[in-house]
């Protein structure tokens, strides 16, 4: 037990050290690399906290896709010129004041952690009592698609909204173009080989994560993130091209998950007496259908979010 605590302490120190590096490193690129390592270690902490569903999401989405996005941004941004500024003394004073403030907030939160009430309030018994009505074996999926389905519906809508926001940032003449943030510059042969070997396995893993999510850790978001990653790796290697943003099939794929979820939720008003309630005995098949559509929409939305806003169409076939 003490050995386990020592290992946990080492893990916590490593995470704090990497977080300090992420904040304090000179080069932005190095800071992003530190952030990715930090995220992977946090995923280990989630396993230690018996939250495997969260660990999968953290590793695939919070670390993998976010890290990819930030690395891309770091490479595209102009190099920062650290010009000598006036008022350096004032700046130092400001930083010290903020440091004291932030240390105070951290200390306050630490005090709360040390003084948490015993026994801890929990909703686990209620979930355990009601889980059989959904027919699911994974309580987290039960909460996500059963008891708190409205959160998940809105979350799926947020992804579509974020994509609308991202596409709105495109210049006028770029509308209808292809997203270009992931356009390959000179893909090395190793990357192309990886992009050919990994996706067949990765697609299987993604579908498995979605399918197994009913009874074991996994689910639509984890599976969708893995599928999106497989799509993105073929984009980066130049094996596939991102679709034009004005295509109808693309929009249908993007909204089919949230739309189906909403329709089944509305039908629940008639058949089960409440919005997003499932008729008795049909909960599990309905949840699986919703999750399948959600996985598809989430994978498409995440991939397109990484691919960036559309950029002007090439001269041939472009608008004048």
């Amino acid at each position: 037990m003490n050995l386990a605590l020592a290992a946990d302490g080492f893990l916590a120190l490593l995470i704090l050290g990497l977080a300090i590096w992420t904040i304090a490193a000179h080069a932005t690129y190095g800071a992003v690399v530190g952030f990715v390592a930090y995220g992977l270690l946090v995923a280990l902490v989630w396993v230690r906290l018996s939250a495997v569903d969260v660990a999968l999401t953290e590793a695939a989405l919070g670390t993998g896709l976010t890290g990819m996005l930030l690395l891309g941004a770091a490479a595209r941004l102009p190099r920062e010129v650290v010009a000598p500024r006036s008022g350096r003394g004032l700046r130092l004073l400001f930083q010290m004041a903020v440091g004291v403030l932030c240390a105070g907030i951290a200390a306050g939160l630490a005090a709360i952690v040390l003084l948490l009430p015993e026994p801890t309030p929990t909703l686990a018994p209620q979930v355990a009592a009601n889980l059989p009505t959904t027919g699911l074996g994974n309580p987290v999926t039960g909460v996500l698609l059963g008891f708190r389905a409205i959160d998940t519906l809105l979350e799926a809508v947020v992804l579509v909204l974020a994509l609308i926001g991202l596409w709105s940032l495109a210049p006028d003449d770029a509308w209808g173009g292809r997203p270009a943030a992931l356009r390959p510059r000179q893909p090395g042969s190793a990357l192309v080989l990886l992009a050919q070997l990994l996706p067949p396995l990765g697609i299987l893993v993604g579908i498995h994560l979605f399918w197994t999510g009913a009874n074991h850790p996994g689910g639509a978001f984890q599976g969708g993130a893995v599928l999106a990653a497989m799509w993105v790796i073929t984009l980066v290697a130049g094996l596939t091209k991102p679709p034009r943003v004005d295509q109808r099939w693309l929009r249908i794929v993007l909204v089919v998950g949230p739309a189906l979820f909403l329709v089944i939720g509305l039908v629940g008003i008639w058949l089960a007496g409440a919005f997003l309630a499932y008729p008795e005995g049909y909960a599990k098949p309905l949840i699986l259908v919703i999750e399948a559509a959600l996985t598809l929409s989430i994978a498409a939305a995440l991939g397109l979010l990484l691919a960036g806003p559309p950029e002007p169409v090439e001269p041939l076939g472009g608008q004048p």
Partner: protein
């Protein structure tokens, strides 16, 4: 000290570090990074509370309260969407103005006679 307390303290530290970076760093991309560290700390605190609450699964592993877990998964997805939007705004800002900071004073200002304090 139990391991949940340990990771709770780690989460509190992450919140402080992320907040510091968010306020103090001049570069916007570093602010976005710091914001993600701050969020990670908050999620960790919530995860610690979930673990203390205990889970549904009976057996050797006491498990973790599934309701906060579901909230954290939702939060991770929303944080990703927000990060994407922030990065896109930043890239547009850099494309339009050539700078990637929010400092009021332009970085191209010619060296002025006043000395650093």
């Amino acid at each position: 000290m139990t391991f949940t307390t340990l990771f709770g303290l780690c989460g509190a530290g992450l919140v402080g570090l992320g907040l510091y970076g968010l306020i103090c760093h001049p570069s916007v991309l570093r602010k976005i990074l710091a914001f993600n560290v701050l969020g990670g700390g908050v999620f960790l605190l919530l995860g610690v509370i979930a673990r203390r609450g205990g889970g549904v699964v009976l057996g050797a592993d006491p498990g973790s309260d599934p309701v906060p877990q579901a909230i954290i998964i939702t939060a991770l997805v929303v944080a990703f969407a927000a990060t994407v939007l922030a990065v896109a705004l930043l890239l547009r800002l850099a494309g339009a103005t050539g700078q990637a900071t929010l400092d009021a004073e332009p970085s191209w200002r010619p060296s002025s006679p006043e000395k650093d304090l």
